[in-house]
């Protein structure tokens, strides 16, 4: 997935859309918005970005999960199997992006890229809802996918690349 920071207005629609789509309890979220201001008035820059699980290719959360609940699912999406999760929290501690939370029902929960929707040919809920259309989703190995096209044509960054997790969430800058 790629998020265009030039278009994101930080409205948090992605957060509510995810909450309702996935019945995430109030008080928790699988995605969130970050605002970063740089500079001194009146020479300023502001970056707004919608963040979530980076679905890393080298995920510390998968490696440290004692039960195999956290695993790579179809297409490399990192998923937690709720009924295998014992809620130990090792994955929460290992994630450099703080992308996971302890669900009140006793398991750890996080973004699934809306796998249940993607399997039906739908976009993840956040992408489908965003009023600014600032998010692009698709297959990175397919040069014609919207996300590949954006990454080919635009400058981008990933978050905390030095952690070596090979994050798969890209920010167009």
């Amino acid at each position: 997935m790629a998020v265009d920071t030039r278009k994101c207005v930080g409205c948090s629609d992605c957060v509510v859309a995810c909450q309702t789509e996935n019945s995430v309890p109030i008080g928790f979220c699988r995605d969130w918005v970050v605002e970063v201001t740089d500079g001194t008035y009146p020479t300023l820059e502001l970056e707004l970005r919608s963040e979530r699980c980076n679905h890393c290719d080298n995920s510390p959360c998968v490696r440290c999960c004692p039960t195999g609940a956290s695993h790579y699912d179809k297409g490399g999406i990192v998923v937690v199997t709720h009924n295998k999760c014992i809620g130990c929290g090792a994955c929460i501690a290992s994630c450099p992006y703080d992308a996971r939370y302890a669900h009140p029902d006793g398991y750890v929960d996080k973004c699934t890229f809306c796998l249940h929707r993607v399997e039906k040919g739908l976009l993840p809920s956040c992408v489908a809802t965003c009023p600014t259309k600032c998010m692009y989703f698709g297959d990175l190995n397919d040069p014609k996918s919207p996300v590949s096209i954006m990454l080919k044509n635009r400058k981008y960054k990933t978050l905390i690349p030095e952690a070596g997790t090979k994050p798969q969430l890209y920010f167009l800058i």
């Binding site: 409205c11 948090s12 201001t37 008035y41 399997e119 739908l122 489908a128 009023p131 259309k133």
Partner: protein
């Protein structure tokens, strides 16, 4: 580990597979870009249009397998939202789920302000209201009753009021919001900007925002089109003392000194005329008053404006050239909430004049010509003719207003021997007047003079605390309402229907208005017992039906008359006195106002005080959403933005709670969190409107943050149309240690 190659294969397979389970799925197209459009998830969705704000996006309400409310998403056919709701619309589920909702009719048992109510039956409540209204009508005339309304149900209460004999239907969206803009544009182009705005942002080459914070105000279609404009490389110029979200998306940000926008606008007009950057053919063909305008702005040079606005002359010139080069695909955006300093109509006139010079009105990338579908009214007896109107009470004031002023009605409610009629009864539908009208003390004084205050709402707001009778409305998710029609690129209608039965003992507006009408002997004005039959009758006149609209939600019609834009050399008759675009407003001149806008200096904050600016957060609508569980989860209080230099001077730290006090000694009722940020000038502070509720029944938001309305005691009234300027208030900080001292 699976590779990403699997990923897309799974998607394709999934789509193929769904064709069995979901017979309505069409062939899944090329890539993962067109989502929900192809899939009707069974018959579990019902159409609606959103009631969280005035944009009224059309969408679908989905229920889960258990039949409970699941989610709300946009309708792809809808021109307001293009299939994508904003956070508030998506969070509309919270309005239904909010456990603090009004649950049953209430009748006051004690003095106003003290919330002592008893639960009542609907019949008791209606009898109480009807008896009081009849008495007021006998003793003072029906004209002494006013309706304040914001939202869909207002239509039916308006019918009731007109049938009763009162013309006093006031919407705070006029004199507290966009009224000055409408008056300015009507008196320049002969037409208003309307809602949704006719701005052709998606095709513009240059968008100029003056204090308009698109992206923080989630006026959905505009936010979406600004995003398109960014993709297309449009130049965005933002004029704002605050580094707004829109400013951060702009090529140019002009950090103007607050309250000086009109000087900048006049200097731009000066440069555009001086450097002949205007659309000469357009101006010659369509406008009048160019000579007078030229003479008027002669001395209003960028150097003159520099001293006022703090924007350097070369920047002013450069921006004017950017606009000139983009002409006519340029929008000097008229904004929406424009009641700032009391000379707002004149400021908006300068905006209108700029657009006229740049030839953007009626042109691609400027302002398009909207068209609206027309829904026929059900035949009913003629409304009685009122014997007097609010104008009788204000004979020489606000001559250019074409709407009833909410603040005017409020003022005319406070007993005054010089007035023939003081308002005796208010019906307040879906607007929290305590937080909507500036100068709360004045509003409360008026309320105390009333014989009857009826409040219709879904939530217990501050205003319900003052009501004699509270009528709990069910949310938009649980009701039918009037058919949505609004001006847009194509005429379009949208249906709202209930997805679920009303929770608690709540009812829709149509039912309430009709039952009240029955009690008052005005049933003939509501010939249909059921709103479904009324809507079906109306929809059939439009060539559709309730049954069809329940399936499709939105119906688009072809334009009847002409193109979105003026054709080359088209002869256009404008609805002004002269039939031309009036650079020189002859109607203003007739009424004794400046026909060309003049800059007047506004009061500046005294030492130690900062101008109070306020605005929106994208996840909230006024004070309406501040208790919504989904939306408070995103933002549950406001903060006061303070420049780091100012914070240092006052010893303020981030997240510290302080009180604010304004120039009149009014102290914020609740403490507010400090946000130290470079995004605000050192001469002003900023806060998001809609917080600081003192209604204890709003359990989630009671006492959270501060109310800007609470601190707006000084109101700068626009003499042309009565708009209430609210940006002339100054605040200082009260920290805990200072409070101890005093």
């Amino acid at each position: 580990m699976a590779t990403r190659r699997d990923f897309i294969r799974i998607s394709a397979l999934g789509a193929g597979g769904t064709a069995v389970a979901w017979p309505l799925v069409r062939n899944f197209a090329k890539e993962l870009v067109d989502p929900e459009r192809f899939i009707f998830e069974g018959m579990r969705r019902t159409p609606t249009y959103c009631e969280i704000c005035f944009w009224k996006c059309a969408g679908w309400v989905y229920k889960n397998d258990k039949g409970d409310l699941w989610k709300i998403i946009g309708n792809d056919e809808d021109l307001h939202c293009n299939g994508r709701f904003c956070p508030r619309g998506t969070g509309g589920v919270g309005m239904y789920n909010d456990e603090d909702r009004l649950k049953t009719p209430l009748i006051r048992t004690q003095d106003r302000g003290k919330q002592v109510f008893r639960e009542a039956t609907w019949d008791e409540a209606f009898t109480y209201i009807a008896d009081k209204l009849k008495k007021i009508s006998r003793e003072h005339g029906p004209e002494c009753t006013a309706l304040f309304t914001h939202g869909s149900g207002g239509k039916y209460f308006s019918t009731l009021l007109k049938a009763f004999g009162s013309p006093h239907i006031a919407a705070p969206s006029y004199a507290q919001c966009r009224g000055p803009r409408e008056v300015a544009f009507q008196n320049t182009f002969g037409e208003g900007v309307e809602s949704p705005e006719r701005t052709d942002i998606r095709d513009t080459k240059c968008l100029v925002l003056i204090g308009s914070h698109i992206g923080e105000n989630m006026h959905n279609g505009q936010v979406q089109e600004m995003s398109v404009a960014i993709d297309k490389g449009a130049i965005i110029i933002t004029v704002d003392p605050r580094y707004s979200t829109a400013a951060s998306k702009s090529k140019y940000w002009l950090p103007i000194k607050p309250a000086t926008d009109l000087a900048l606008l006049l200097a731009w007009i000066h440069v555009i005329l001086e450097e002949e950057l205007y659309d000469k053919a357009y101006v010659e063909k369509y406008t009048m008053g160019l000579d007078l305008l030229q003479a008027h702005v002669k001395g209003m040079t960028p150097e003159w404006a520099y001293g006022i606005t703090t924007i350097p002359p070369e920047v002013i010139r450069q921006m004017a050239r950017e606009m000139g080069h983009a002409s006519p695909a340029v929008i000097v955006h008229p904004g929406r909430h424009v009641t700032w300093y009391g000379d707002d109509t004149q400021r908006l006139r300068a905006v209108a004049i700029l657009n006229a010079l740049l030839g953007s009105w009626g042109r691609r990338g400027g302002f398009f010509k909207p068209e609206t579908a027309s829904v026929p009214e059900v035949p009913h007896p003629a409304f009685p003719t009122p014997k007097r109107t609010w104008r009788t009470e204000f004979p020489d004031l606000y001559r250019l207003s074409d709407s009833v002023l909410a603040n005017g009605v409020c003022d005319a409610t406070i007993p005054d021997p010089s007035r023939g009629c003081n308002f005796k009864a208010w019906i307040v539908n879906g607007t929290n007047l305590i937080e909507t009208l500036p100068n709360q003390d004045n509003t409360i004084k008026a309320i105390e003079a009333l014989d009857l205050l009826v409040v219709i709402d879904t939530m217990p707001m501050e205003i319900t605390g003052y009501a004699d009778v509270v009528l709990p409305e069910c949310t938009y998710i649980e009701r039918y309402d009037e058919i949505r029609v609004s001006p847009h690129r194509k005429p379009q209608i949208a249906l709202r229907m209930p997805a679920l039965k009303p929770k608690y003992n709540t009812k829709p507006a149509y039912w309430m208005a009709r039952e009240l009408a029955k009690k008052m002997g005005l049933e003939a004005f509501f010939p249909y017992e059921k709103i479904e039959d009324l809507l079906d009758w109306q929809l059939k006149q439009l060539g559709t039906s309730l049954e069809e609209m329940q399936r499709i939600g939105v119906k688009t019609f072809e334009r009847t008359a002409d193109d979105l834009y003026f054709a080359p050399d088209e002869e256009v008759e404008f609805g002004t006195n002269s039939g031309k675009i009036e650079l020189y407003a002859t109607a203003f001149e007739q009424e004794g106002f400046d026909p060309l806008p003049k800059y007047t200096a506004h009061e500046e904050p005294p030492a130690g005080y900062y101008r109070l600016n306020y605005g929106r957060a994208p996840m909230h609508t006024f004070s309406r959403t501040s208790n919504n569980p989904n939306l408070t989860d995103l933002m549950d209080e406001n903060s006061v933005w303070v420049n780091p230099k100012v914070a240092q001077e006052w010893g303020l730290t981030n997240d510290q709670y302080i009180h604010l006090r304004n120039q009149d000694g009014k102290r914020s009722e609740f403490p507010i969190k400090v946000r130290i940020t470079e995004r605000i000038r050192w001469d002003s502070v900023y806060m998001v409107h809609g917080f600081g509720h003192d209604q204890k029944r709003l359990k989630r938001c009671y006492g959270k943050g501060a109310s800007d309305t609470n601190l707006i005691t000084k109101v700068l009234v626009d003499p042309l149309m009565g708009g209430t300027g609210m940006r002339g208030n100054f605040v200082t900080f009260i920290t805990e240690s200072e409070e101890v001292k005093s």
